[in-house]
């Protein structure tokens, strides 16, 4: 299950130093873009924080789909698990933000373990259907357990303590945004590290040809399950961040719609390159904000057309397109020299 393997990082050079340098530049660029957002859109910090939370969800899909080759339309189950765990902990008196993030990560990881155990039993279409059924099951469970989750009214009234005891989560969302940005940077850097570890390479191998990986003497199931757990932790951090920054957890955080939208963002940006996940999220949510304010149905038409276009014209997503373009220009340069 894959649209196209996009793996520019091994294309040319494989010296370790080069890779470090490139990751450092990448992370610096994300930081710069994040800070630019802070200065440029001081009135939209709540939206930008939401973008970061969803970006974490999209990154988590990239791990299982882009690197592990397991397509999922139910990833919001893990996001929601993190959001509700953090929310419930907060209402019950655990208000320290870093602890809440940790709780979200653990809850997401446990949910990921559950989801992976079920999904990895099947293949292809059945797997996809299982992912949908699981997110719907979580949704119904969250709805039913209204004593803990607030049901369809949502879980409101989260009072989070100041970060490090010093920085209040203010009305303009400045603290929340900067906190989210810092989280994103840390998670992203860790994920770059993970996908370029032996484990990450093994996952990419499994995505392309599990039979070959078995013939190399490696079991496929435990490796993918591990990826599900990591992915769950990342999604859970996203969910916890959403809960902390909005101080509300709604049923929409465990929905099929959110899962599908996040997958669309990933495909738009490009599978299997963590950068694509970020690019896709920012572009998708930016346009959504502008267009759906005018008419939500125009927005749907646009996303639909975009998806069809990506499938037909740019299977690697935007980052794949960029990569192809840079590949062409590089080859031209090589020819000239």
């Amino acid at each position: 299950m894959q649209v196209a393997a996009q793996t520019p990082e091994i294309a040319t050079s494989s010296s370790a130093g080069y890779r470090w340098a490139r990751d450092a530049v990448g992370v610096t660029l994300i930081l710069a873009a994040g800070l630019a957002g802070y200065w440029l859109f001081p009135d939209n910090l709540a939206l930008l924080t939401r973008v970061i939370a969803v970006a974490l969800l999209v990154l988590s899909i990239d791990l299982v789909t882009g690197y592990g080759g397991v397509a999922t339309l139910g990833q919001a189950a893990l996001f929601g698990a993190g959001a509700y765990a953090a929310g419930i902990a907060c209402v019950n008196g655990v208000t320290e933000p870093l602890t809440l993030i940790l709780i979200g990560a653990v809850a997401g990881a446990v949910a990921g373990l559950f989801m992976g155990t079920i999904m990895l039993r099947a293949h292809g279409l059945a797997q996809l259907v299982l992912s949908i059924a699981i997110v719907q099951l979580f949704h119904e469970a969250a709805n039913k357990a209204s004593a803990y989750t607030g049901g369809s009214d949502g879980l409101a009234g989260l009072m989070v303590s100041p970060l490090f005891g010093a920085f209040e989560f203010d009305l303009w969302g400045r603290t929340a945004y900067l906190f989210g940005l810092a989280l994103l940077i840390v998670v992203f850097a860790s994920l770059r590290f993970i996908v370029s570890s032996p484990f990450g390479m093994l996952c990419r191998g499994i995505k392309e040809d599990p039979v070959r990986i078995r013939a190399m003497g490696a079991f496929v199931f435990p490796v993918l399950l591990k990826m599900f757990v990591i992915s769950g932790a990342v999604a859970g951090i996203g969910g916890a961040l959403a809960a902390i920054s909005t101080q509300v957890v709604g049923l929409d955080s465990v929905s099929f719609e959110l899962s599908a939208n996040a997958l669309v963002m990933l495909v738009l940006g490009g599978l299997g390159t963590l950068y694509g996940a970020l690019v896709g999220t920012v572009i998708f949510m930016g346009f959504e904000h502008v267009v759906s304010a005018i008419n939500p149905f125009h927005w749907m038409t646009m996303v639909g057309a975009l998806l069809i276009g990506v499938v037909l014209a740019a299977p690697g997503g935007l980052s794949g397109l960029l990569d192809r373009m840079s590949g062409i220009s590089r080859r031209r340069k090589e020819k000239r020299t």
Binding site: F256, V267, F297
Partner: protein, 287 residues
């Protein structure tokens, strides 16, 4: 006892309505190997056409159904030519993305033209009357849906098992290259099967509108239900689709009557259990 009976009748009629829609999807998925998540979008288009014909133009119910089926198939032909043909044989994820894209476009465009309101399809007097079946009376519409479902099941079985088109279709499914070499025009077979599948979606969308109301997000709201039904029954199997629709229709309806606060919890729990035990559905073809 009365409650049990009305649950049973409702569940049966609901299951049949689901069947008429889903069997088309089962055909596309099982025979043509395309995960067409936009299947519900075609049912929705048909619902809009029928509603427009019956409510706004004042045409009869039968005419509205006929127009809806023809209109939907006509709309689907260019889509099959331009879009679906590119994804025959592609990985599932590609098919899923493309057909979700089509669904979004259909929702956006229909609502742009028809406005974001619930569309009703007025039933003719003969179907709103209760019908006396001896031991009790049943709403005429329920009987009509059940009859439609039985006719569709029988007709499809006959088409696939007893006609020369059915033979070509099965040959194409088993080995498209070989069928092609034997002179079967596989492209034509695909196009006709696709049109039949869409026509069934259209029929189901209109006659099932009492159970699955035609509204702006219809295509998205029931996308999962249809996909789940087909996966549980086993793609490509008529019998499987019947069993899955009746079973899931029963689980769903009973749940709504007896434990409304649980919503679809048991429905999805049942789905997970079934798919885990039968990854190809009850009657799926081995691949």
């Amino acid at each position: 006892m009365q409650t049990a009976l009305s649950i049973a009748i409702d569940a049966f009629a609901y299951g049949m309505a689901l069947f008429i829609i889903c069997i088309g999807l089962s055909l596309t998925m099982g025979l043509m190997r395309v995960v067409n998540l936009a299947h519900g979008a075609f049912a929705m288009i048909a619902g809009y056409i029928a509603s427009y014909a019956a409510r706004d133009l004042g045409l009869g119910y039968a005419v509205a159904i006929f127009l809806a089926i023809i209109g939907t198939i006509v709309i689907s032909i260019p889509l099959e030519r331009l879009l679906y043909r590119r994804i025959y044989g592609s990985p599932e994820l590609t098919q899923v993305l493309m057909t979700i894209g089509i669904t979004f476009c259909v929702i956006g465009i229909t609502n742009y033209f028809f406005g974001p309101t619930l569309k009703t399809i007025p039933l003719p007097g003969s179907l709103t009357q209760p019908v006396d079946v001896g031991f009790r009376t049943i709403a005429g519409h329920r009987l009509f849906v059940v009859a439609c479902g039985l006719v569709v099941a029988g007709g499809l079985w006959f088409l696939i098992e007893r006609t020369s088109f059915g033979i070509k279709l099965r040959a194409t499914v088993d080995n498209a290259a070989m069928a092609d070499a034997l002179g079967v025009r596989t492209q034509v077979v695909y196009a006709i099967s696709f049109a039949i599948a869409i026509g069934l979606a259209a029929l189901g969308g209109v006659v099932g509108a009492e159970f699955l109301p035609i509204e702006p997000y219809y295509a998205l709201r029931y996308m999962v239900t249809f996909l789940v039904v087909v996966s549980v029954g086993g793609a490509g199997s008529i019998l499987g689709a019947v069993v899955a629709c009746l079973l899931l229709g029963a689980v769903d309806t009973t749940g709504r009557y007896l434990m409304p606060e649980f919503g679809n919890f048991f429905f999805y729990a049942a789905v997970i259990a079934i798919v885990c035990v039968f990854p190809r559905g009850f009657f799926g073809r081995a691949q």
